[in-house]
Amino acid sequence: MDSSNLDFFTNIAIIIISYLLLLKIIPKIITNLTSTNKKVFIGVLAYIYISSTVLNAYVLSDTKPTEVIIVSLALLFLQSIFILIMYISLVEIQKKLLSHTQQKELLQEKQELEEYSSYLDQNEDDLRRFKHDYQNILNSLKIDAQEGNVKGVIDKLSEYTNSHFNEEALRKYKDLNHIHIKELKSIVFSKLTQMYNLGILYSFGCESEIYEIPQNIDLLDLVRVIGITFDNAIEAETDYFNSNFLQKQDLRIEAMYYQDHDDFEFMIRNRIPNSDITLSQLTEKGYTTKKQHPGLGLANVKQFSQKYDNVIIDYHIKDTWFIFNLTILPIDEVTD
């Protein structure tokens, strides 16, 4: 009687303790069940469950457990612990890796922001200086004009214009302030900086204020494609320059974002030599074939178009331009 009472109490104690334990663990289990590693976690749970069931069956079928069973029981138990530890450390490693790439991205973003804000500061200074100079110039012009010295007026004006209005740096990141999607802004920013540093003439336009694009598009996909097409254009221009097909002042890349109704359009074009270059030659050389990764460029762009029904692409040669065009239609435009 005593032993059965004891059994009863230990059973109840076990249930209560495991309930309390579970209460603490359940939230963790839930996060693990829904995280990216859910398959592994379920696998681990299944393994523990199956092995304990098998053990249970063994122990119940034999009233006197032999040494073999005890050993295998111990082994299974150890294995379960080992697997649990493996799983936990795997998750830890993943977390570390993720935060590392996130940090890198953040760092790059920060650098870009700093560069952009210093550019804005610079503009602010120039504007203030202009305001200051303006009054002085006006005064001296007045004197010249009163004396009828027209040539003096013109000379002074043109001197000032040349030194202050032709500065490319002043218009380096024109229209970027109209893009209100961080990812789309930062890709253009970094590519404009690259072209500026390479000394390739470029223009970028974004007339409309862009707050959103059709929702089904993964921004990372889009940014990658935009990056690739910028890279292709830059690479093509550098190639034409190095192989003497184009002079430095003829190199040119023009790009734009555009929004009509609620679509999103991206276009980029780069200058090509005036000779009879066919598209297949171009797609072989400047456009699709990168030195290290043959054919990577166009393949990625095509993949992007295939992934989304509402993405249409267009690339062709016209006059002395190679033109690439990407349009993302509102989703309801293609599903009818």
Partner: protein, 253 residues
Amino acid sequence: MKYQVFICDDNQDTIVQLKHMLLIAAFRLSDNDSVTFNVFGQATTYKSAINILQKTIPTGGIYFLDVELGKNIGKDNGFDLAEYIKQNDPKAQIIFVTSHADLSIITYQRRLGPIDYIVKSSNVAELTTRISDTLKSAINYLENSSSESANFFTYKAGYEVKKIAADNIYYISTTGNSHKLELVHTNGISQFIGSISKIAETAPYLLQISQSCLINPKKAEIDYQSHKITFPNGDIQYYSRKNSHMLRKYFSK
């Protein structure tokens, strides 16, 4: 030929300079056929330009417009004027005059259709040449569009209506995506939303060779053995068996 020209620039001196250059350009562009430019109107503000154009607007005029018109940024500038002109003179040849070389001209080409531009420069000789060249292409466009009988295939890429000379088409085929078609032509590829059967109805110069493909027979080389059609760029399309009789008949002509 006599061409109607309109000039709008907030600087009266630029207008005078442009008029002068028009005379030189007219002289340069005249060969057997004498070319003259008649300035039918000039304005220094958006408002006065609209006033003039409301009274008289030609078809196929040439318009020199200052981009940075007036004080208000982004309002009543050259582009708004251009939009008005395009609505009232669809054949208008618009040439923007700007002081900034980094003007995003493609944005305005996207918004207004084909337009040209010249960058103001203190080098008069260079500027005159540039104006002559620009006028030459404007004249070419006007002449060709009036005598044009060539066939065009038009399609809608998003909200933009595009057209391509029918002769330049290689083929139009379906893609893996629903409603999305791919037009392959001499200069590249263009995707758009549409359906093969509808195009087959409206474009009789294209030949339907299967459920998924229309070809331009003028650009196609047919191989009866393997049911294969090859295009000048090396692309290959296969035709369905039920069409072989029709194709044999068509190509034997």
